[in-house]
Symmetry: C2
Subunit: 266 residues, 2 copies
């Protein structure tokens, strides 16, 4: 039996060391190429992912789906580990202090098979972890989502970057209905803000989010009480592939989730 | 001659101590009433403002325009000091690590008479300061705005919280034209992100921004190279009053500022 919780903490700790070293040396933002996921690869992305993979490779029967190197390991492996070494690379590049590492472990071939998820805020070290069927934690203490029941008072993370006019327009009614629209630029970490009740909702309906951004965060938020769907209210069923893109609508509870969805339809 | 730079640093340091004490004690978010600016007053707002005012009161001929207590001191004073003890109070309340203190000194009766501005990020202590006609600094080192010339690659802070459907719609074309829309929930600090080139633009066209949010930040950003106007391209001419509300459009340089304005018109 692999002790996934300690494996994920070890891997995240090694990413933290890479990040700290590169920030101190004012390095890390050198552009190296393009990752398997299609984004620009910086030195920090590459070195962080190498550290995570070095830890995972010791664990045997593992398939890895990772932002930079793509998919490796046996297709019939018992475990699939989904890695985004640095979510929020653009923030890292510009010095905006909001980015994280995200690692999820699946036992099976769907997002619902996610068994362990860890997201670490690389700016301040806050570490979110959940195990399926258990509870969600931040730095070891249990966290819960918001119990807010109305949109009028809601603070919602909404990603409307790099998108089209129709997508922007489809969010007008929702944005005019809530108290605060926020976007920090690292969706895995923003999903953890939903998990701990700092945000009442989180959505990205651009059809651009990737499993590397969401696998760990959605487990953590669900275990803390969040409800997720696609933009039409259907279940999240992305393929477990580095190329997959989908949309996600999350609420801190089922009432708020339904209110958010209703404003997307109107 | 008042040494305003050291006075502002002293005041901000005392606010930092108040914030640190209240965060350690898990206090600070107790709601006390409503400030002169119309927002809910929490304990942290009140205690922070008292510290700033205690420092300013030693300086003699000063009129104070402050978020919580409103306007005090002689109307014909040489200096007007504009104070927002905690910009981003809602973030403070929810544990979102993005809020600041903002203090500006005017010699005259208009925003263009702002002579000194200081914004301190109360989460990590980063301190932005500028003197009119000089340069802008962060932690003592000179900062400059972005030199980006096109919207397609631009990261823009846009506040679309607590607003109406027409305002949201008026931003659709701009949002669909840029690379990233962000909003962190403390506009004084977001304006400093513009000043140091972390953001390429910053705007709030809701007609809700207050001089307490903007006086220090706009000086710091202008001294670093930013260009500001109202939502139609006219000069910023808010009344120096705690009740005043206006709109602001900022770009890291004149080209980007013009591109942003053009997308608001069509």
């Amino acid at each position: 039996m692999v002790e996934w919780e300690s494996v994920l903490h070890d891997a995240a700790e090694r990413v933290q060391e890479v990040r700290d070293k590169l920030v101190s040396a004012r390095e890390g933002t050198e552009r190296i190429g393009e990752g398997a996921g299609g984004d620009i690869t910086m030195r920090v992305d590459q070195e962080a992912e190498q550290e995570i993979i070095a830890v995972l490779k010791q664990k045997g029967d593992v398939r890895i789906v990772a932002e930079e190197q793509g998919e490796t390991g046996p297709k019939d492996a018992r475990w699939t580990v989904i890695v985004d070494p640095i979510d929020g690379s653009s923030n890292f590049e510009r010095g905006i202090p909001f980015y994280c590492t995200s690692i999820a472990v699946l036992e099976g071939r769907t997002l619902d098979d996610t068994k362990h998820g860890l997201v670490r805020n690389l700016v301040n070290g806050d570490t979110y972890y959940a195990q399926a069927g258990s509870y969600a934690t931040k730095n070891g203490a249990e966290i819960k989502t918001s119990t807010l029941q109305n949109l009028r008072e809601a603070t919602v993370g909404i990603d409307i970057s790099r998108t089209t006019l129709p997508v922007v327009k489809s969010l007008n009614v929702l944005i005019a209905s809530i108290k605060r629209q926020m976007h920090f630029g690292a969706n895995a970490l923003e999903t953890c803000f939903l998990a701990e009740g700092r945000l009442d909702g989180f959505l990205d309906i651009r059809g651009r989010i990737r499993i590397m951004d969401m696998a760990a965060g959605q487990l953590i938020a669900k275990q803390a009480g969040a409800v997720f769907s696609d933009e039409r209210g259907g279940p999240l069923r992305p393929a477990i592939s580095v190329k997959e893109r989908f949309s996600v609508v999350g609420g801190g509870n089922s009432t708020l989730h339904a209110h958010i969805l209703a404003k997307l339809k109107g």
